[in-house]
């Protein structure tokens, strides 16, 4: 500790001279710096990826071999049908974690530090959402990989399949603003988990993830038809299997825009109020 009695180094530019950059650029750069923080944390705690790596494996194996014969006549046909759905479902449940993590994180001193710095207020939240891209890429790759081992094959082409993957990751990023909002609004991490599960569970089952909508009673079909996951799953099935995509890509993108337009401002407002 003897070095402490020296002079504190004060080199480097004075702050007031360097902050005059356009706001959107600053927001982007600050968010990326904070996304890097999330990535380092993910890297340090790989066990936090269990939800997005193990869950699709379990669901695929159980559903394909238990229900495959009954639902689709053969396990292979059902695997082809189910894989895009499981991917969508895993992405929807995987984004619960960001709400839980932010809820824990925000109680720590580091968020005070962020708020005392000349950083756009939204940067810590935007950064956390960006940082989760890696999680979603891991879900997508690991689900496709296990699918291939079980016999899933892309029937369209590599470009379409890649587009399907990108659509899934984009959907996850946009849907993330819902758990971020809940994470800012609800008091404890456990409560975030509970609220989000109550929202995501019906969303993933009242969809065409597991069975085609045609087999359902009328009122349920109505629910399934408007469900954003249904649009995503139908779009991905089309992109992976070469079946007709219809307007489902557009509907999915519209839902994505809707999630961001509604939940991002709500989340930011809740964040500002929560001190």
């Amino acid at each position: 500790m003897s070095t402490l009695t020296g002079t504190p180094p004060r080199t480097g530019p004075k702050l007031s001279t360097v902050v005059a950059q356009p706001r959107p650029l600053r927001l982007l750069r600050h968010s990326l710096a904070l996304a890097k923080r999330s990535l380092i944390k993910t890297w340090r705690t790989p066990e936090a990826l269990i939800d997005v790596t193990l869950q699709p494996v379990l669901f695929l194996v159980i559903f394909v071999y238990v229900f495959g014969g009954a639902v689709a006549g053969s396990t292979h046909d059902y695997l082809q049908y189910l894989l895009p759905g499981i991917l969508a479902q895993t992405i929807a449940t995987g984004c619960i974690a960001i709400g839980v993590n932010l809820n824990t994180d925000i109680a720590k001193g580091i968020f005070d530090r962020f708020r005392s710095l000349p950083v756009p207020r939204s940067a810590p939240l935007v950064g956390a959402v960006f940082g989760d891209v890696v999680r979603y890429v891991i879900v997508t790759v690991s689900t496709l990989a296990i699918g291939y081992l079980l016999g899933f094959r892309v029937e369209s082409g590599p470009v379409q399949a890649l587009a399907g993957c990108l659509l899934a990751v984009l959907f996850a990023l946009c849907l993330s603003w819902l758990p971020v909002y809940v994470g800012m609004k609800v008091r404890t991490p456990g409560a975030v988990q509970g609220v989000m599960f109550a929202l995501i569970m019906p969303l993933s089952f009242a969809s065409n993830v597991f069975v085609a909508a045609g087999t359902l009673p009328g009122w349920m079909q109505a629910v399934v038809t408007v469900n954003p996951l249904t649009h995503l799953v139908t779009a991905m099935r089309g992109l992976f299997l070469g079946t007709p995509v219809g307007n489902h890509v557009w509907w999915t993108l519209l839902w994505c825009a809707g999630f961001v337009a509604v939940f991002m401002p709500l989340a930011l407002r809740a964040y500002r109020r929560r001190v």
Binding site: T5, P9, G12, S16, Q21, I40, K41, G109, R115, V275
Partner: protein, 320 residues
Amino acid sequence: MIEAEGLVKTFGSTRALQGVDLAVPRGTVLGVLGPNGAGKTTAVRILSTLLVPDAGTARINGLDVVRQAERVRQSIGLTGQYASVDEDLTGRQNLELFGTLLELGRAGARRRAAELLDWFDLTAAANRPAKTYSGGMRRRLDLAASLVGSPDVIFLDEPTTGLDPAKREDMWDVVRSLVTNGATVLLTTQYLEEADALADAITVIDHGRVIAHDTPDGLKRVVGGQTLEVRPTDPANLAPTAAILSRVGSGAQADEIRRGVLAVPVTDDSALTESVARLAAAGIAVTELSLHLPSLDEVFFTLTGRTAADDDTTRTEVAA
């Protein structure tokens, strides 16, 4: 320069601040002294733009903390009671992150992090996650983090609470060299000793109100200055020791404050050496001899007529 007038903040039914004025001239240290729950942290959070006051105004270098918060944040550094660094990141990653957020650029952030790690003697631990750091190291990293942007106004919210005495002295040295470099510092503390060692002026707050504002010497005059405590080796020597102490003291009688320990208020710094000389001349051996500033409890008792811990649930911490 920090100026605050009539700060009021209420949380539900808790009136954390009830009209607090604070003033810290450029290049000086203000010690804000008070027990837990006095409103110290609330005041710091308002001044550092984390909280908006219900009433009153505050300016940092002439900039309003509410209306010009963004510009205020460019010139302040904040170190809280708890370490506000990321536990999963290494010391270096933490400092580089804050450098990036402060627009130092990649190379600038890296250079600044290396400088601060070196200055705070953390270079050897730089690449370990902060959660592996000891309490003292964490505190140093936290302070380093608040200095990344070379702020000229620094808030230190109980920077030494929970540190052992040696680490506390190290932290004091850091604060002193910051001031030498022209920083304006607002330091909250529960220790009169700390405020006395560092501050140019001391504001005592209690229940969200300022109850005294003075120089350390002025405050010590009011609350009774220092106390000399002596424990004679042989309890039979209590009476002659008391007689000697009463002569070197400020005229007051020496009292036995604990079993076998005598205390006398002293005003003169020479009282310590003088009593050593006189005790030696009288052939009285002692096992303990020390000079104490009044504790926070004593300060409060003098200023308010009640003990600081009266209505505080964290009595032990206050008395520490």
